[in-house]
């Protein structure tokens, strides 16, 4: 027992006239310190993830429904294959602008009326574009579901934007892309994407496009993209919230069933990133920057690959939590950064591992040496404790993803889009729980330095001597475009 809460109590014995009582004894009584010992941690509580109910609409679009009736909310994700991989050469961003324009007028509503209608009903509605697909997300109170699906149907079937809307949104997009050139994380990620896949790969440019490329996008480009991808073939609906399968099926059939026909899906051939060796360190010069943005990318595993859980486990141990190796060294021990993040990026047919951080300019070289040291060290394997942490972190992430209906819809849509079964979410949880230390060690070869892509956004003049001292022999300055 700890003595940190030792109390001394005086115990007075009752007095009598004779004989003279002995002096009152002092009795030491130890009061247990309730904080002295850590409490025991009980057995893990099972997590039974929700299982989507599956159906197919009359137009062959897939439908998954996850019933979460706790609050009167519904979230719908509609996805079609396509994406920025279909951008015409020299016109990067065409798909992205096309999707953006879907909220700038649809059906009988012009841009203003469309926004007023959605917002007046409290419907959160957006369209977005990825490298390999496009999607519409709509979240609302349940009593606005029909209205929301009506708007979604008009976005898909009856776009109604005009040339002035096109010009305005393109100009806004150019402005946003220009502003993004001052944001180190965005600059690093977009530069890395092009270097990772190569300019001629359909995935080799950001979905948002580039400043120069967006200026070249035409009305025909965006109209062609919409016609090409927004058909029911290959389309998937993921619906979560206070709604049953029958309700969702009925509502979707009503708005986007027979009226939305299936033609040929817009398939895109995936050209995996080439495996480069011994590349230079790429530097985007940012004179005067107080920090250097680090963005390191390594070959990883595609979604669904049986080795992905082991790679994911090792990556979490490397830089996925506060106590992960890179944070313990670069943030807590060295004081070089506010934080480091390592994550797997599984894509369809391809994948990578990314390590990113913002490092104080004056210690860029030493930080790179430290980072390389950790990458080598982790190839020797991880401890049982690290294994447990990674499993726990992954499981907790998945639990939290199930909190909101938008989170549930988004999570399961990823599986549905990837062509996985409705039980894959639960299967991944099980697989992460079974990853062994040996499997992780075998996957750590993914952090092979000779295949790494390193992009740094920082003050070149100030960081170059440190990089050279760290053993970097080739530095190439790149324009973020």
């Amino acid at each position: 027992m700890s003595r940190s809460a030792l109390c001394v109590l005086l115990v007075l014995v009752g007095c009598a006239p004779k004989p003279v009582p002995p002096p009152p004894p002092v009795v030491a009584v130890e009061v247990p310190d309730p904080l002295a010992a850590r409490p025991a941690i009980g057995a893990p509580v099972d997590f039974a993830p929700p299982a989507p109910e599956v159906a197919t609409l009359s137009n062959h679009a897939g439908l998954w429904v996850i019933n979460r009736p706790a609050l009167p909310l519904v979230s719908v994700v509609l996805h079609v294959p396509g994406g920025s991989a279909l951008d015409p050469v020299g016109h990067p961003g065409a798909a992205w602008l096309s999707d953006r324009l879907m909220t700038q007028g649809a059906g009988k509503l012009d841009a203003r009326a469309f926004a007023e209608t959605a917002e007046r009903l409290g419907i959160e509605l957006s369209a977005s574009t990825d490298l390999d697909g496009s999607q519409i997300t709509a979240s609302m109170k349940k009593d606005q579901l029909e209205a929301a699906l009506g708007l979604v149907a008009d976005m898909v079937l009856h776009p109604n934007w005009g040339v002035p809307d096109f010009k305005r949104e393109r100009e806004l997009a150019v402005g946003e892309l220009t502003q993004a050139l001052q944001e180190p994380p965005t600059v690093a990620a977009r530069t890395a994407l092009t270097l990772w896949y190569g300019k001629n790969n359909p995935w080799g440019h950001p979905a948002e496009g580039t400043v120069k490329g967006m200026g070249q996008v035409t009305v025909k480009d965006v109209q062609r993209y919409h016609t090409q991808v927004w058909n029911a073939a290959g389309a998937t609906f993921t619906v979560a919230g206070d709604i049953t399968l029958a309700e969702a099926q009925s509502a979707l059939e009503s708005h986007l069933g027979k009226a939305w026909v299936a033609s040929k899906p817009a398939g895109v051939a995936v050209i995996a990133a080439p495996l480069y060796t011994d590349r230079p360190v790429y530097v985007v010069d940012s004179p005067g920057a107080a920090q250097t943005m680090f963005y390191l990318e390594f070959p990883g595993r595609p979604a669904g690959d049986a080795r992905l859980p082991a790679l994911r486990t090792g990556t979490i141990a490397l830089g996925g939590t506060f106590t992960s190796r890179l944070n313990a060294l670069l943030r807590e021990k060295r004081g070089y950064t506010y934080g480091v993040k390592a994550r797997t990026l599984p894509r369809h047919g391809d994948g990578s591992v990314v390590v990113s951080s913002r490092i104080r300019t004056d210690v860029t070289g030493p930080a790179l040496s430290d980072l390389l040291g950790e990458l080598k060290s982790i190839q020797l394997g991880i401890s049982e404790e690290e294994l447990g942490k990674a499993r726990g972190a992954y499981k907790q992430d998945q639990v939290e993803a199930m909190e909101s209906v938008a989170g549930v819809a988004s999570t399961f849509s990823t599986y549905q889009i990837g062509g996985f079964g409705p039980g894959q979410f639960a299967g991944d949880l099980v697989a992460m729980g079974k990853v062994t230390g040996d499997a992780v060690k075998a996957e750590m070869a993914a952090y092979d330095w000779k295949h790494a892509l390193v992009v740094l956004v920082g003050d070149r003049a100030k960081i170059e001597p440190g990089l050279t001292a760290a053993g970097v022999t080739k530095i190439e300055v790149v324009d973020p475009g």
Binding site: A5, E119, R120, K141, G175, Q182, A290, F322, A393
Partner: protein
């Protein structure tokens, strides 16, 4: 106690139980078995507004030090213990408060409570120069990342001195200056801890998958041994009223000028604050908002926003807009001023009020889906209104807001002639 979200399209219930320990610690229990997780949310009523002169950024620096270990759990033990068992944590510092939250699986709950009680009891005694120096560097890196290398954020560093007189609790930034962070000493840390990190200055919300009867015993056992203490006097600043426009201009590595107009508005949960928040939506909440139509659709700006930044001793309302190519700051300012006058002359229409109420209701429900958000919400109610029971009143103040109320609030608090303006211009040639 059972609260009903009256006025929402479909009622949702948030059952919670509230009580107070003899040492003054406020406790709220929110039972929710929908997912196997728990949240422990500790709210201390001390923030940057309680910092001593020359110690800007100290409350936030102290927040970082709360994770540097105690005698019982030294080093990075807090993070290690949580993460080893599937949990995680974080914290944030505001002008009025500092909020610590732990999230994890249910079996970790006694441990999370033990960690919070342990550091409430003895973190200060375990402080060392080495810990302070390490976290000082981390915080300086946070400042570099969040302000110095973040486009337009240098403008935010100018706001406190522009909007508040010297000596006001909000006359400096939460992140602080490099000089003041460097000046912080171990004695400062120990004194700050002893003064403010006491049970009668804190509230604890436990939410999630647990047995309330068992948790009450744990809370009483762990926190009950920590004595109540006299608290330092809190500031009592006069309400700040701007007599005229004030302006500051800074440069940054950006391509387009940005204007930010700040107005003094009612403090958190004070009369008129709901109307001001709804005015934020009316002016800048979405593509059908008035300023979006005036400035973005009108071709003057690339983006515009209007938001209330609530704080206890009076809030700030900020309108921000980034110029389009070839548009001057003056043109944007003229358009914003015109809309602020129009909001008084032409109150919100019925469809606009419908939009504001529906957007609020959806946002409120959406926010409550997160267990952590629910915990924070109840702690905020306690901190700013004195009771977590405020939820029904909170909903009512938004539900009952009228177009006339918004007009009156705009006339009183959003007067163009009283704006504090921060302009961020592209840097002239010559670098940083």
């Amino acid at each position: 106690m059972l609260l009903l979200l009256a006025g929402l399209a479909s009622a949702a219930e948030i059952p919670f139980e509230r009580y107070e320990l003899p040492n003054g610690l406020q406790v709220v229990l929110v039972e929710d078995h929908s997912l196997p997780q728990v949240v422990v949310d500790m709210w201390y009523q001390v923030g940057s507004g309680n910092e001593a002169a020359g110690r800007s950024g100290f409350a936030h620096l102290f927040e970082h030090l709360m994770f540097m270990g105690t005698f019982r759990l030294p080093g990075s033990g807090i993070d290690q213990l949580m993460e080893a068992n599937g949990g995680w944590n974080n914290a944030w510092t505001m002008e009025d408060a500092t909020n610590y939250y732990d999230v994890g699986p249910p079996q970790l709950l006694p441990t999370l409570l033990w960690i919070e009680a342990d550091r409430m009891q003895q973190l200060g005694q375990a402080m060392t120069q080495e810990k302070l120096d390490l976290q000082r560097e981390v915080v300086k890196n946070e400042r570099r990342q969040s302000y110095e290398d973040e486009p337009y954020a240098v403008g935010e560093l100018e706001v406190p001195s522009l909007m508040y007189p010297k000596g006001h609790p909000y006359d400096h930034t939460v992140i602080g200056s490099h000089e003041d962070l460097t000046a912080a000493s171990v004695d400062d840390v120990k004194q700050f801890f002893a003064s403010w990190y006491v049970p009668n200055n804190a509230s604890l919300v436990v939410a999630g998958d647990f047995d309330p009867a068992a948790v009450k015993l744990v809370i009483a056992g762990y926190f009950g041994v920590i004595p109540k203490q006299a608290l330092p006097e809190r500031p009592h600043p006069e309400a700040v009223v701007a007599s005229q426009k004030a302006r500051v201009t800074v440069e940054d590595d950006v391509d387009y000028p940005q204007i930010n107009l700040y107005f003094h508005t009612p403090g958190s949960f004070q009369p008129g604050e709901a109307e001001i928040q709804l005015l934020g939506s009316l002016l800048g909440g979405g593509e059908s908002s008035r300023l979006y139509r005036d400035l973005v659709i009108g071709g003057l700006a690339q983006d515009v926003s209007a938001d209330q930044m609530p704080t206890k001793y009076g809030s700030l309302f900020v309108i921000s807009a980034t110029a389009n190519d070839g548009v001057s700051v003056q043109q944007m300012e003229t358009a914003i001023d015109a809309e602020l006058r129009k909001v008084v002359a032409t109150p919100a229409s019925a469809p606009e009020m419908e939009r504001l109420h529906n957007q609020f209701e959806y946002g409120f429900l959406d926010n409550l889906q997160s267990l952590q958000n629910r915990a924070v919400q109840l702690n905020q109610y306690w901190a700013y209104t004195g009771s977590p029971d405020y939820l029904v009143k909170d909903l009512a103040r938004f539900r009952d807001a009228t177009a006339e109320g918004l007009r009156d609030a705009a006339a009183r608090w959003l007067t163009p002639e009283q704006a504090g303006i921060v302009v961020v211009n592209p840097r002239a040639e010559g670098g940083k």
